[in-house]
Symmetry: none
Subunit: 235 residues, 2 copies
DNA sequence: CCGACGTTTCGCCCGTCGTCGAAGGGTCCT
DNA sequence: AGGACCCTTCGACGACGGGCGAAACGTCGG
């Protein structure tokens, strides 16, 4: 009918989202983290076989990407457009998501800096990893010698993190940023130190964290004068 | 899991869109005009019975509204959120909508000013109706006395429009603007005059119209000096 | 009041798709 | 090399849902 917005077959894509199990998988993936097939099966409450079949279809429909890693296969949403579809669908679904001004302000704070389980995420987390990598403190999923010195000097228990059964310094994909931040044992140890030093403190909103004045000064000093560009708080 | 973007049941809504017939109906309704059940059945290529069943489900799912009018029942999308879902779905569906630079430029031109059947739509159409209403020329789906004088003076065949079998001055919902513009016999008569005076001329792209220099001056004079804020052409 | 028309409801058929257990292919750890 | 673990493929079962024709309901026009 229209020469633009020409009828695209939206039914097949909608059908992929229409199944409750697949919807649960996609919603779980909306958090931004890549999740293993087994985790997704557990979250969706189906057998591994069923989840696998669904993931194959989602993959075929280009709604998710897969990153094989050892014997795990980590799935994540294929792009921000997919996330937008899911979010717009949530808008007209039974339980409405973010609505009030207060809530959207809170959402902005979470974009800025938040915890992802026990480590730093959001723009702050992404910025920190960028900076570590840029300065040659981090490479190939491990700290370099200089990085080890830097963080140990700050009081981070690097040795303890290495001894932990958790993966040492994996990258954790951040959905709102579409970039990685530092997770695993090292990410947790760093976050612990930052909270102990009160460079960050927990916000009123669950999972939100805010950079303190002390933290701003501390980080600037740590990274030889240049401030972390992304570590400014929401105004 | 998250305190915001809390899991809303997106699957039922997606299921409503997932059926090809319902998707065709919804896509047809994306134009913004309300369509009768029979027309929708024809467009979707199914029997009246089938279309009726689908429309009942869409109604139940609050994706469409219905306006009974005599023995017809006119259906339209239930709100802009629904349109946004459909448009975002189209984004990740097989035949991508607007993509090339040229096409997106053309889409912008259509947002600005276009025809809707035989009357003016887009920002230009919405702006015109706003202005008429603001200046007391239009109220309660009819021209006021001053409006009648204004348009007759411009050369619009108001009397002829009143004598037409079409509705005189209905408001036509503009989807991209989410606001109304003037349709019906009067809307058509106005558009005809504007084209005759060459205040607007048809663009290279189907349905697109552009404001001429003469039109800009004319409209400014018509509305006592103040230019129609929305009637500036795409740069 | 009656016939024409638009729309909905009813009953039935049949294809599609989600589900699981079991088996097979890979990868990691010891 | 062996075993544990993660994931996928295979085969079979069961249910949900879309399709249509016929009939009922309501409205319009003479």
């Amino acid at each position: 009918m229209e020469f633009f917005a020409r009828d695209a077959d939206i039914a097949p894509v909608a059908a992929l989202i229409a199944d409750p199990t697949r919807a649960a998988i996609l919603t779980a993936l909306l958090g931004g983290r890549a999740l293993a097939a087994g985790e997704l099966a557990r979250i969706a409450g189906v057998s591994a076989a069923t989840a696998s079949a669904h993931l194959a279809r989602l993959l075929d429909g280009r709604l998710v990407d897969v990153v094989p890693q050892g014997r795990h296969r980590y799935y994540r949403l294929a792009g921000h457009e997919v996330a937008e579809v899911l979010e717009s669908l949530a808008t007209i679904s039974s339980r409405p998501p973010v609505r009030s001004l207060r809530q959207s302000r809170q959402a902005r704070m979470l974009e800025e800096a938040r915890t992802c389980y026990d480590h730093l995420a959001g723009r702050a987390g992404v910025g920190l990893l960028d900076r570590l990598r840029e300065d040659g403190h981090y490479a190939a999923h491990d700290l370099t010698e200089s990085g080890e010195r830097l963080l140990s000097g700050l009081g981070v228990d690097v040795a303890g993190a290495r001894g932990s059964r958790r993966r040492f310094a994996p990258e954790c994909l951040d959905w709102t940023e579409r970039r990685s931040h530092l997770g695993g044992a090292l990410g947790a140890a760093i976050a612990r130190t930052l909270f102990e030093r009160e460079w960050y403190r927990r916000g009123a909103v669950p999972r939100a964290v805010v950079l303190t004045d002390e933290g701003r000064r501390g980080l600037a000093t740590l990274f030889s004068g240049k401030e972390l560009t992304s570590a400014t708080p929401v105004t």
